[in-house]
């Protein structure tokens, strides 16, 4: 899936959160958005998933303008998955029902087929034994893996990940990032907002630094992390390094 963002603009309470952002994510590419809180990472992901309506600009999925008026947001959303920082699992449903809800209700898949597929996914990520548990019985890392599986169950060709490890205990971060590494191997196109610089450096194809709603600097991790060109990028990376995150 090819994602093209063209002059995306969003204003909240008079503040420019997205300032004419242009961004291209090629098929099978993994792009990490980095930047301080409030730099627009999360808003950009939510705009792509049509949870945030742009005040200007366009977003294209494989050439199809998903920001045009009258677009079927539901149909668009079934083509991509999104995972949130706070997991947002459905607490009143067992893991298996969390995963099959989308395919069954939005995808029109039979319960049996949906459950077979869900169990296959749960097995692939080592969670088959949790299928009948409720989310509050799972660790944070397990919950976030279930949230990723729930998104994967819709068989998306683009995965959006919004700081999915930020709410996790450091020891649980690894198991979630390993899932992403495996997905990359499988060729999944991914756009993720993250503070995990180590992950961005070793897994991303490209890293995009956002600053005050603008795409400030963009390049392969080898270049962006070792020789950032602009002072704001250098400053951000220096602070991240001091915080021990790089």
């Amino acid at each position: 899936m090819k994602l093209v963002v063209e002059k995306a603009r969003k204003i909240y309470d008079g503040k420019l959160v997205l300032d004419d952002i242009d961004l291209v994510v090629a098929p099978h590419e993994v792009v990490c958005l980095i930047g301080a809180s409030g730099s627009g990472k999360s808003t950009l992901l939510k705009a792509v998933n049509l949870h945030v309506e742009l005040d200007g600009g366009h977003i294209f999925l494989d050439g199809d303008d998903i920001t045009r008026p009258g677009v079927n947001a539901n149909q668009v959303r079934t083509r991509m998955g999104i995972v949130f920082q706070a997991f947002n699992l459905f607490p009143h449903m067992r893991v298996l029902d969390n995963v099959t809800l989308g395919p069954r209700r939005a995808g029109g898949v039979d319960r049996e087929v949906a459950e077979t597929n869900a169990i296959r996914l749960l097995e692939r990520f080592g969670l088959a034994d949790k299928a009948t548990e409720y989310p509050d019985r799972l660790s944070g890392g397990q919950q976030q893996r279930v949230a990723i599986i729930r998104a994967l169950a819709m068989e998306p060709t683009l995965l959006l990940l919004d700081e999915i490890t930020s709410a996790l205990d450091p020891v649980l971060v690894g198991e979630v990032l390993n899932v992403l590494r495996e997905l990359k191997t499988g060729g999944m196109t991914m756009l993720l907002a993250t503070h995990e610089m180590g992950f961005a450096r070793d897994t991303a194809d490209r890293v995009v630094f956002l600053h005050e709603g603008k795409r400030w600097e963009d390049g392969p991790p080898s270049q962006l992390f070792t020789s950032p060109q602009r002072p704001e990028t250098q400053d951000f990376l220096r602070r991240v390094t001091e915080a021990g995150r790089l």
Binding site: R77, T78, F84, N88, F90, G102, A106
Partner: protein, 290 residues
């Protein structure tokens, strides 16, 4: 102490604690129980003394607490009370369904749903703005007077309809508060797996919302159980009306006591159940977050 004995003591302690919680008492030990007993005894003695020394007490006893009148009015009042129970059960089921539909319509977003939302809000505002007894009189006497063909002229039907409408409007607001109590991120998560607004409400938001408002719904049921008696203004012979008829024939008010006993026999267990349920639910949630 062996393991099984240990287990037994623990079980009996848990049972005691449950019983105490049932009556709204916290764990206070033997001293607490003694204080509670003495305080209650003093309270009862004072009340009895106050009433007993009232100069009109013997007359009141004759008028309101006459065992013979109680016995002779009882069958009529009980037979009327069966109607109250039936009205209550029918109304409760319909109210729970209608109000949920109203609340769900109100929770729909987007300009396309504006006419539906506006209709529901208008309905709720109007119905909640009219005293329930006035609504009963309006529908109970008004609609049959219109003599519309195909519509029943039964005062019972229209009186109960008025109660159902009024309670549905209130209960819709209860459900709405429940829907609002479910975090926005749940709606977003549901929409992002491709569910439509209505599907997100039905499968994700409403099941969680209902759990949050069950105590409030039970409270509404207690209220309704008494308020169905209001159709007595239409002359419908339910328990209150039967008691009133007895009084007007005998000039003795003991029949009202008979009706009181019947209403309490249903509402007190309901109230205790509500408290028990609310308490259990709260402890479960605390357990879940701990």
């Amino acid at each position: 102490m062996t393991g099984s004995q240990d287990n037994k003591t623990r079980q009996s302690r848990v049972a005691q604690q449950r019983a105490r919680l049932f009556f709204g008492m916290r764990e206070e030990g033997a001293r607490g129980a003694l204080i509670a007993f003495v305080a209650t005894a003093v309270f009862v003695i004072v009340i009895v003394a106050l009433i007993g020394t009232s100069s009109t007490w013997p007359a009141i006893q004759q008028q309101f607490l006459n065992p013979e009148d109680f016995a002779s009015s009882w069958p009529k009042v009980v037979s009327g009370f069966w109607l109250n129970i039936r009205m209550f059960l029918i109304a409760e089921v319909l109210i729970l369904v209608i109000s949920l539909v109203l609340a769900m319509v109100r929770a729909l977003r987007g300009p396309a749903f504006f006419p539906l939302r506006a209709t529901v809000i208008g309905f709720i505002d109007v119905v909640r703005g009219v005293p329930i007894i006035l609504l009963i009189l309006l529908l109970g006497f008004g609609v049959p007077a219109l003599q519309i063909r195909g519509l029943t002229n039964s005062a019972l039907f229209w009186g109960l309809t008025a109660i159902i409408l009024s309670y549905s409007a209130y209960t819709a607001e209860v459900y709405r508060s429940g829907i609002d109590s479910v975090h926005e991120s749940q709606r977003m998560a549901a929409r992002s797996v491709g569910l439509t607004q209505i599907q997100a409400l039905r499968h994700v938001i409403v099941p969680q919302a209902i759990r949050n408002v069950i105590p409030a719904l039970l409270n509404g049921a207690i209220s309704l159980q008494k308020d169905v008696a209001l159709v007595f203004v239409l002359g419908i012979r339910e328990a209150l009306r039967e008691a009133q008829i007895y009084t007007s024939l005998t000039f003795n008010y003991t029949s009202y006591i008979a009706a009181t006993v019947l209403f309490l026999a249903v509402s007190i267990p309901l109230a205790r159940f509500t408290d028990w349920y609310t308490d259990r639910d709260r402890r479960r949630r605390q357990g879940a977050t701990a």
